[in-house]
Symmetry: C2
Subunit: 359 residues, 2 copies
């Protein structure tokens, strides 16, 4: 067995130790005589897995007592529609910051349910910047302010939590959750898909402040009604049990790495090395302004795009997978989430330098 | 490692061969150097898994060309809300057959979107019968007729496909799909959760006839709009990739067993043995009328319910798990889906007889 370095934007590489544990426990979880995926979600074994999952997440993110944690289905994209329906209440508008493809989708889907006010927009820079927070225009009558903390396609990331000017702050943290410390108290709602920094696909995390509950529109199916799911510990129907279990293993692994503060240091080092290599080459270039560069997704283009195919072929032959950029922007992209070891980034840099030398 | 006999109603036992293959491929799927759960859903490896999954399902169920196959998220319960929103079109009412707890929930959730006409109802028998189809009252102006082919809690099952009197027939097949042959041509829409006869939780199968597409309400999130998902091969957003893979392994296993016709024979033998043992005891009793008994879920009560706890404790000590009946009806329940081997049923019967002899 040879494992590759997998730079996929998501689903993405998992810690090898997590996969090994899942492998070892596949037919018999800790003497239960069952695989986790065979367990009733209401049984005592799975209940313990679920309780530990929430406790570990609360520990890692220091989630205050007045926030509920939900593990839903449907992906973060489904939340583009369910967030307004759950928390607009009697309001009719919401503010959105447009910083790339994902925030753009969130705005589009919300428009079915409310007026969307674009408080800031970096489209004119081709989404290579984060708009200066001082210039954001927020409507005090809006129900919330939504932003996307990291844009996987354009490779831009907020390096601080923006001031929401009194509105409940709602954040799609799908692609950088648990990669750096944040203060949950600054948010009304945080949501994220599981398939980047938290495990396999199949869980949609929603962390919501108590005061935003209790106002869901009745057109929302019960399994996507936050208030109903809070009452039912996210088990109004059968959840994606195996993905919950895998998320639990990833969180334990993260605790063993020293938690979010420690992993942030790794992420700073890994991304700095890769950007440094790109900036110091003549073949590769990253278009994002330095202060807005993502630590998670590093897009780069080749000075001569006729070399793209040769680059990707050579990369794959050398065990570097999924480096092709998103079809909407082209070029290359290396996604280096928590689970990507520094050795993977070092190896990629060596490969890129060797490719540059020979082409 | 000692594996138990797992009689859980869902998530439920999986074929041991499937778990072994998943275990073996966990860190490296067929030389890819990646776990399936690490793969981009748009990459060539996962695309091949997805294509084979659909092809195998079409083969096993003989799905005609004019039906689309969707692999969604959210569980069958979410479809209680999304089915009316997707296929009501300009109609304002739909017919439902009430045969137990699950069809009851389907009716309740649909009422948010349309008038529901209860075409037949077996509540007066405490859901121990299937209402005679000749007596069903269907409204010709209804958009469809919905029924639940097997009720997991009450243990009643349709033994033929009912005549829908000209309406598109919609069926929740969550708990008996692939357990017996059906003619897909008789249906407008079939849906089912994955966690009983098709693998791990996390996939919601929707098989829909072409002519029912194209009329989804715009309030439905894009990822639950059948027409949008048909256009995007169920990948409008990241699907639960690992659950798709596991479903694929289960379908291959089913093909190796001889397909649906062969597994039906096993299911007939297993359920007949268990009902025979119950009917021939003085301690155990099944309340369902004989022609409506489920082959999948066999509820039974003890003549003396003060023995319930002792029964469950002794069962678990002997490696028979999850036999407790649903909290809403009490007693016991043995769920014996496709993956439960005949030897498991034989062993359970021996245990039950021994318990009766000694109590």
């Amino acid at each position: 067995m040879t494992r590759v370095y997998n730079f996929s934007a998501g689903p993405s590489a998992l810690p090898e130790a997590v996969l090994q544990q899942a492998q070892q426990e596949m037919l018999d979880w800790r003497g239960s005589g069952m695989s986790v995926m065979e367990m009733s979600h209401r049984g005592k074994q799975f209940s313990s897995i679920a309780a530990e999952l929430e406790a570990d997440l609360r520990d890692l993110m220091r989630i205050p007592e007045n926030y509920r944690v939900l593990f839903l289905q449907g992906g973060a994209s489904a939340q583009f529609s369910f967030i307004p329906q759950n928390i607009l209440g009697l309001k009719t508008k919401a503010c959105y910051v447009k910083t790339g493809a994902w925030s753009e989708k969130a705005i589009k889907d919300a428009q079915t349910y409310c007026e969307t006010i674009v408080s800031a927009n970096s489209e004119s820079s081709h989404f290579t910047t984060i708009p200066d927070v001082a210039s954001w225009v927020c409507d005090s009558q809006a129900a919330y302010l939504h932003y996307t903390s990291n844009e996987t396609i354009h490779g831009v990331e907020f390096n601080t939590t923006p001031n929401s000017k009194g509105l409940p702050l709602v954040c799609d943290m799908s692609s950088n959750i648990l990669s750096r410390p944040i203060d949950v108290n600054e948010f009304g709602l945080i949501y994220a898909g599981s398939q980047k920094n938290m495990g396999a696909a199949g869980v949609t995390l929603v962390i919501v402040r108590d005061d935003l509950l209790g106002q869901c529109l009745k057109t929302v199916p019960p399994v996507f009604n936050y208030t109903e799911q809070v009452k039912n510990q996210s088990m109004l129907n059968t959840p994606t049990t195996y993905s919950w279990y895998l998320m639990g293993l990833v969180l334990k692994w993260l605790q063993e790495q020293g938690g979010v503060t420690a992993i942030e240091q790794c992420n700073i080092v890994k991304s700095a090395k890769l950007y440094h290599a790109i900036d110091n080459s003549t073949l590769y270039r990253n278009p994002v302004e330095i202060v807005s560069r993502s630590r998670m997704n590093v897009p780069f283009i080749l000075a001569d795009d006729s070399l793209d195919k040769a680059f990707l072929t050579a990369a794959e032959m050398n065990g570097f997978n999924e480096l092709k950029g998103h079809r909407s922007v082209g070029g290359m992209r290396a996604s280096i989430y928590n689970a990507m070891p520094e050795s993977g980034v070092d190896a990629l840099i060596s490969f890129m330098q060797e490719f540059e030398r020979t082409h």
